[in-house]
């Protein structure tokens, strides 16, 4: 028996790229894709980089490829929106060294702002797309994607979904192949997309797609599993595993390459089965194409949003639901929240107190929108907050309320700079708050251009946020430690009074990054008036007792003292002092 290792889908993709001889990996962190590049960075002979955003990542990869080496680019589904400009024309130029994009979708939106289906991008950008169903296939398909990329002169998308990326399975691994980089030669007609060249490459692209469709007809990765032919299912990706489990006897056409589709193969399969169904999560990508071939799959009552399970598929085909226990009623929900001691907490508390209209951005700090802080009015996509604040100002809708955008350090590097440039250019008065916690926290603490370290753990020039903002033309740039609530409020007020655009950098490392040296806080019960003001901070270390008074869980408290700053009755102090005073609480 072959030795098999337990790997997540993400680790398996990294391994597949490494085995294919990929020299460079580049990407931007985003759930559920982040661990691919982190795993790749740990591999012998691989060079991995975090780019400031997905567009830059794909541009770097384009250069690696044109230079002749193999390269892996990683991003989450919405990252491809950012990189799309590069992708659509790279489909024209094609590649020299194999170029594979790992794009991880998030059906069910476990950690995303939308549920877009990357398969549509493959058809739209005219590039091949492979979709694995487990960790073993994640490795094999990625390896194969590099071959396809070079053979058909095209970037290739490997699409994962959260249940592939974050599931683990047993994988038989292989050796790394040596991929020699040929001597570089300029190829103007292939790589300079002036209209004259682009027109020729556009025609060439169609013939490459034709050749790919033909290749897909006999691709050994597609599988026709002919069981009981009374029901035939066309499916792909993790949904295949759900179908196989729900319908152990059904005939299945499991497709590996979903663009361009193997029409003859699909017709062949259809002709062999009595009933035809297509099972796919999210968009009806396969269904609409199968129908366009003139075939008539039966419609199943499956949702068009969220993830499937084997049971859902079985029940859509008529199985009785299993007996289940009664759910408990009125259980309190457990939403995610800012950690105890999180430096973002006081900023949102202060903004709410000031009645600011807050345009938010993507990161842990989006949680500032939840109760009890309730301090965010809108959040759309990476980097959007700064431009949105300018628009809010133009609308006049906020009236006398101050207009503020809130953006993290990594998100600012990703796509905040151009928004800030616009604020200066078009004379906005809005204040930009940059939450500089020295890391990309939400996705698990990745480095970025402001942290002074690279993905490979090397030292890097630490970009100076204040200098960047001044360089873009912002005259008023202040820096504050946000756990000092008094200074935070003063800095915000000063910035808002400034006639031009202003920036306040709230600088304090993520509480998970630096072990706290401070003693936990405690409440002096006799001074606590049960006013609950401190609970407005939404700190999980604080809780309200039956009496209405507040207690602090010393095992959770990291001693940031933001609650003490909020308390009007001086009822919260460092725990040690409370004990000295002879308190029992």
């Amino acid at each position: 028996m072959v030795d098999r290792t337990l790997l997540s889908g993400n680790e398996a993709v990294a391994r597949g790229a490494w085995e294919a001889g990929a020299a460079v990996g580049v990407g931007y962190p985003g759930t559920p894709s982040t661990e691919v590049l982190e795993a790749f960075a740990r591999m012998d002979g691989a060079r991995a980089q975090w780019a400031p955003n997905e567009k830059v990542a794909l541009e770097v990869a384009a250069g690696v490829s044109i230079g002749g080496a193999r390269t892996l680019v990683t991003m989450k589904h919405v990252g491809l929106n950012v990189a799309a400009d590069v992708l659509f024309t790279l489909a024209y130029t094609g590649v020299a060294g194999g170029l594979v994009l790992l794009v991880a979708d998030d059906p069910g939106m476990h950690s995303s702002q939308n549920e877009q289906d990357t398969r549509n991008y493959a058809a739209f950008a005219k590039v091949p797309l492979l979709e694995p169903a487990d960790s073993q296939e994640a490795l094999e398909y990625t390896r194969r994607a590099f071959e396809i990329s070079e053979r058909f002169d095209t970037p290739v998308i490997v699409r994962s979904t959260i249940r592939i990326s974050h599931s683990k399975g047993l994988v038989a691994v292989g050796e790394r192949e040596r991929h020699a980089v040929p001597a570089y030669e300029s190829r103007y007609a292939k790589y300079v997309m002036l209209p004259g060249n682009a027109k020729r490459r556009r025609v060439d692209l169609e013939s490459r797609l034709g050749a790919l469709a033909e290749y897909n007809e006999t691709l050994d990765l597609n599988r026709m599993e002919m069981g009981d032919a009374s029901l035939g299912v066309i499916t792909a990706g993790v949904t295949y595993e759900y179908v196989r489990e729900a319908l152990p006897d059904a005939a299945i056409l499991k497709l590996a390459m979903l663009n361009p589709l193997p029409e003859t193969l699909i017709r062949q399969f259809t002709s062999k089965v009595d009933r035809l169904v297509v099972v796919e999560e999210l968009d009806r990508y396969l269904t609409s194409r199968v129908k366009a071939m003139g075939l008539q799959p039966e419609e199943l009552p499956l949702p068009r949003t969220g993830e499937f399970t084997p049971r859902m598929i079985a029940e859509a085909l008529g199985a009785q639901p299993p007996e289940t226990r009664q759910p408990f009623e009125d259980l309190p929900p457990r939403p995610p929240m800012l950690c105890p001691g999180c430096p973002h907490r006081g900023v949102f508390y202060t903004l709410a107190k000031m009645g600011a209209a807050v345009m938010g951005d993507i990161g842990c700090y989006t949680l500032g929108a939840l109760p009890p802080l309730n301090a965010m009015d809108a959040c759309v996509c990476m980097g959007a907050s700064i431009g949105m604040a300018q628009g809010m100002e133009l609308s006049g809708g906020a009236g006398d309320r101050p207009v503020v955008s809130v953006i993290g350090d990594s998100t600012f590097a990703h796509s905040g700079l151009t928004g800030l440039m616009n604020a200066v250019y078009n004379g906005s008065h809005a204040t930009t708050v940059i939450l500089d916690n020295r890391t990309t926290a939400m996705t698990g603490h990745q480095d970025n251009p402001f942290t002074g370290r690279t993905l490979m753990g090397e030292k890097a020039p630490e970009l100076d946020i204040e200098a960047v903002c001044r360089g873009l033309g912002v005259e008023h740039v202040a820096v504050v430690d946000p756990i000092n609530l008094g200074r935070t409020e003063r800095a915000l007020r000063e910035a808002l009074e400034h006639p031009g655009p202003s920036v306040v950098v709230m600088r304090r490392p993520c509480v998970l990054l630096v072990r706290s040296e401070r003693s936990p806080m405690a409440v002096k019960a006799e001074k606590c008036t049960a006013c609950s003001l401190c609970l407005e901070l939404g700190c999980p270390a604080l809780s309200r007792e039956e009496s209405g008074k507040v207690v602090i869980d010393a095992t959770l408290c990291v001693g940031c003292a933001q609650c003490a700053a909020v308390c009007r009755y001086r009822a919260i102090a460092v725990a040690g002092r409370v004990c000295e005073a002879g308190e029992t609480a």
């Binding site: 759930t31 974050h166 289940t324 950690c339």
Partner: protein, 194 residues
């Protein structure tokens, strides 16, 4: 598929469900079985409700199953035990760490504290484990997750030696001893209860 066993580990972000699931999956693999593990990280890690599913048997297709299909539900916390209970199949095994971690809406007083969950879970044949006190006895409160694995191991077809080998290889080197002690105490607790 009846020849596949499904285990669901639930708790609160930061409690160590991910490490526990990883150990279980490796034990199943080391015992010659096919195995799949599914977990979701990202935003829910910030103190939210978390779940890890591990399925093992001769051949495992889906990494996840639906309500009514779990053989062993291990809850690291009482409210999460109640929340995920519908996943447990009739006759399935329910192990619960007897601790309650109040969610934020309860801490702030926006929602009332839960009452009577423990007795309701006992009516569902829950076996309670004092994971935290036992973990402290073993040398570190952080090994409560391994106490629960010890309790879970009693009902699974794997050799205790395999468990110990995987735990020793998976936890930080300086915590091997306390984790192995935690595993034993969990096993004893569950054997006593059964």
């Amino acid at each position: 598929m009846s020849d596949v066993t499904s285990v669901l580990l639930v708790g609160v972000g930061g409690q160590g469900t991910i490490l526990a699931g990883d150990v279980l999956a490796k034990v199943a693999a080391a015992s010659g079985m096919d195995v799949k593990l599914s977990e979701v990280h990202g935003m829910s890690q910030r103190g939210g409700s978390v779940d890890t599913m591990v399925r093992f048997g001769p051949k495992v297709h889906s990494p996840v199953v639906s309500a009514g299909q779990i053989d062993h539900l291990v809850a690291f916390e009482v409210i999460e035990a109640a929340r995920w209970l519908p996943y447990l199949k009739p006759g399935g095994r329910l192990l619960v760490d007897r601790r309650t971690i109040a969610p934020l809406p309860v801490l702030t007083g926006a929602l009332p504290r839960t009452v009577g969950l423990e007795s309701a879970l006992i009516a569902e044949d829950a076996v309670f484990v004092e994971a935290e006190p036992l973990a402290c006895r073993a040398g570190s409160p952080r090994s409560a997750n391994v106490v629960l694995l010890g309790a879970l191991s009693v009902g699974l077809p794997f050799d205790a030696g395999t468990w110990r080998d995987v735990i020793a290889a998976r936890v930080p080197p300086r915590t091997v001893e306390s984790n192995l002690a935690a595993f034993e105490l969990g096993r004893q607790a569950a054997s006593g209860a059964a």
